[in-house]
């Protein structure tokens, strides 16, 4: 699947397009199909996101997994300071980041 991510313009937080708005949980990410780039430009123009880009991800039984390690770390937070960000809600977080 293709999903859309970026940073919240004002706070800088990592956000994921959830179909009807943005979420801080990668698990909420929605498939944007071929519309990701248009959506990214529109949402940037609406000042809701900065640096939006489309990535590959897989949807398994456990939820959405970004394909590239960089985006998995964005979803998880710094692996050396898991205390700092709201963690993904899935049970097995930490197992799939690296």
């Amino acid at each position: 699947m293709k999903i859309l991510t970026g940073n919240d313009l004002a706070s800088g937080d990592v956000i994921w397009w959830a179909g009807d708005g943005w979420s801080r949980q990668v698990g909420d990410a929605a498939d944007v199909g071929a519309h990701g780039d248009d959506l990214a430009r529109a949402e940037e123009a609406a000042l809701r996101v900065v640096g939006a880009y489309v990535i590959d991800a897989t949807l398994g039984e456990d939820g959405v997994r970004p394909a590239h390690i960089k985006d998995r770390i964005r979803a998880f937070g710094p692996t050396v300071r898991p205390d700092l960000v709201e963690q993904p809600t899935e049970a097995d977080i930490g197992k799939w980041v690296i």
Partner: protein, 543 residues
């Protein structure tokens, strides 16, 4: 320490208000990201993996207690309670909100600080020796020069859009603690026939094409340094490769046209500069120098240290360096606890070091390029009290220049350009070599890790260097041996195929085992490597 005059303060205050307005326009949509990005970068604000990151300039690594306290307060109030000291003697905050950035800059301005010259293709914050002014072997205190260069380079209209970033270091001792020859320009103050001046090195750097800077002028008298540098920059500004970002640093120009040709062009330009009389008045250097006068050291102090506490004695032997004034010592504070993050300090730790600087070090402290801190003037009689406070704050690790005193860039945990994570690897290596006896047995060994080819973690200059690469989406690490950023500067050589994270820790262990088996008396790891070469190490690792 240097204090702002009304011009300095007015410039910095005006810059904050300008950025406040720019930020407001961004948040309301009057500026697009493409328009805003160069403006925020000129104020040190990057967008990284998880958030905005603010890089604050610490001119030549020198801070007062008040400035340090402010850095800690900002970490607590606007960030997630910590800051990261970098190899460029700066501080980075990793979790900044865009709307807060102008307020943070305004707070910094109240203590004569800013984030100017921490990004972009300008002359960046000047770096220097953390022992400036206190080491016995220096020709002169390099800080007045660094400050003069700061004033010359800040908003220099001709050098604000150089082909690429430009980093300058100034030292004044034979011991190079600032990686001077790995800068675009390195100045080493020297004395010839009673006249102070500088040796000038140009075209050093790390990144994807590492180079040790060659000497381009054996001596330039102190009152002509500025116009000589002006000439160096002019030649670079005109001929640097603007067509290719990866070839745009001065090192490529010097390499491509050759040192002799670069020198010739600089001399020609310099002859022209001389006629223009652009050197700052000598009174200005004298004015600046007065700010760096030695503090009022007490006389008649004892040099004795009560070493009855063994943990304290161990720390003294490792972390305390000789000071030029009798009865005083230089205290190195490690930011490399075994299970910590190299260079990170909590808001509370930053506050404590600010207190210590005020109470015990004439209100002064330094940041080192190895991501540690220094209290430059501590009475020997106060060392025990200082140590106890450091112990309580988790800042008393005794590992200066040992294998666990690792330089590590933020890597893939924070950095958008990274291939691999640097910090967890640093932690694994530190854990493997944690035993104090083992570290002491190995002795001086500078280990440096970068998460990508940009080399922010100085991996080329590590006795052991590690470079993170991306192997089809999986983190992989190349190992380098034999680099040095010190007075014996050299670039490390890659051992061979890369490793997984655990694999590289094992490889390092094999490397240190070979060293311990092969070393001759008095040899550091680097010395043994230089004597016996890469082969035995390679055999041990891949054999």
């Amino acid at each position: 320490m240097y204090r702002y005059d009304s011009y300095d303060q007015a410039i910095v205050d005006a810059r904050v208000e300008e950025f406040r307005d720019q930020t407001q326009r961004r948040l309301t949509g009057a500026l697009t990201e493409d328009q805003f990005k160069p403006l925020r970068l000129m104020n040190g604000l990057y967008l990284q993996l998880h958030a905005y990151m603010l890089r604050v300039a610490i001119p030549y690594g020198t801070l007062s207690g008040k400035q340090m306290r402010k850095l800690g307060e900002i970490a607590g109030k606007y960030d997630k309670g910590y800051g990261h000291f970098t190899t460029r003697q700066n501080l980075q905050y990793n979790w900044i909100k865009l709307a807060d950035a102008p307020d943070i800059l305004a707070e910094l301005a109240t203590v004569e600080m800013h984030a100017i010259q921490t990004s972009g293709n300008c002359i960046r914050n000047i770096s220097s020796d953390q022992y400036a002014g206190v080491s016995a072997d220096e020709v002169a205190d390099p800080r007045p020069w660094a400050e003069l260069l700061r004033q010359w380079s800040s908003f220099h209209p001709e050098f604000t859009y150089l082909p690429r970033k430009f980093k300058i270091a100034v030292i004044a001792s034979d011991d190079d603690r600032a990686a001077m020859r790995l800068h675009d320009i390195g100045l080493k103050l020297v004395e010839r026939d009673g006249v102070v001046g500088a040796e000038v090195y140009a075209g050093g750097g790390m990144g994807r094409t590492p180079m040790v800077a060659p000497l381009i002028r054996d001596f330039i008298a102190e009152d002509e340094i500025i116009s000589y540098l002006e000439a160096c920059l002019r030649v670079y500004n005109r001929y640097g490769r603007r067509d290719n970002k990866y070839k745009a640093r001065i090192k490529i120009l010097v390499h491509e046209i050759g040192v002799e040709e670069y020198k010739r062009q600089v001399e020609e330009e310099f002859a022209h500069m001389r006629e223009l009389g652009l050197n700052p008045p000598v009174e200005e250097l004298a004015r600046i120098r007065a700010f760096f006068a030695a503090p009022a050291y007490e006389s008649g102090l004892s040099d004795d240290i009560d070493r009855s506490n063994p943990a304290f004695a161990l720390w003294v032997d490792r972390q305390v360096a000789a000071h030029k004034a009798p009865g005083y010592a230089i205290v190195n504070i490690s930011l490399k606890p075994i299970d910590g993050i190299p260079g990170d300090a909590s808001a509370e730790q930053i506050g404590l070091v600010a207190d210590l600087a005020e109470a015990y070090s004439f209100d002064e402290l330094r940041v080192t390029h190895a991501q540690n801190l220094v209290l430059p003037h501590v009475k020997k009689a106060d060392l025990y009290a200082v140590w106890q406070k450091l112990v309580a704050a988790g800042l008393a690790e005794a590992n200066l220049d040992l294998i666990t005193d690792i330089i590590a860039c933020p890597g893939l945990d924070y950095c958008a350009l990274a291939n691999a994570r640097s910090i967890p690897l640093a932690q694994k290596i530190a854990a493997r070599f944690a035993a104090a006896e083992r570290q002491a047995e190995i002795g001086e060994l500078k280990l440096k890790i970068s998460g990508c080819i940009n080399a922010c973690g100085h991996h080329h200059a590590g006795h052991i260097g590690i470079l993170g690469v991306d192997r089809r989406g999986v983190e992989n690490f190349q190992l380098l041996l034999g680099g040095s950023g010190a007075e014996d500067a050299s670039l490390g050589q890659i051992t061979g195929p890369g490793f997984s994270e655990d694999g590289v820790v094992d490889a390092i262990e094999k490397v240190t085992d070979i060293y311990l088996a092969e070393r001759e008396s008095g040899e550091r790891f680097l010395d043994t490597y230089r004597r016996i070469g890469m082969k035995p190490f390679k055999e041990a690792i891949y054999g």
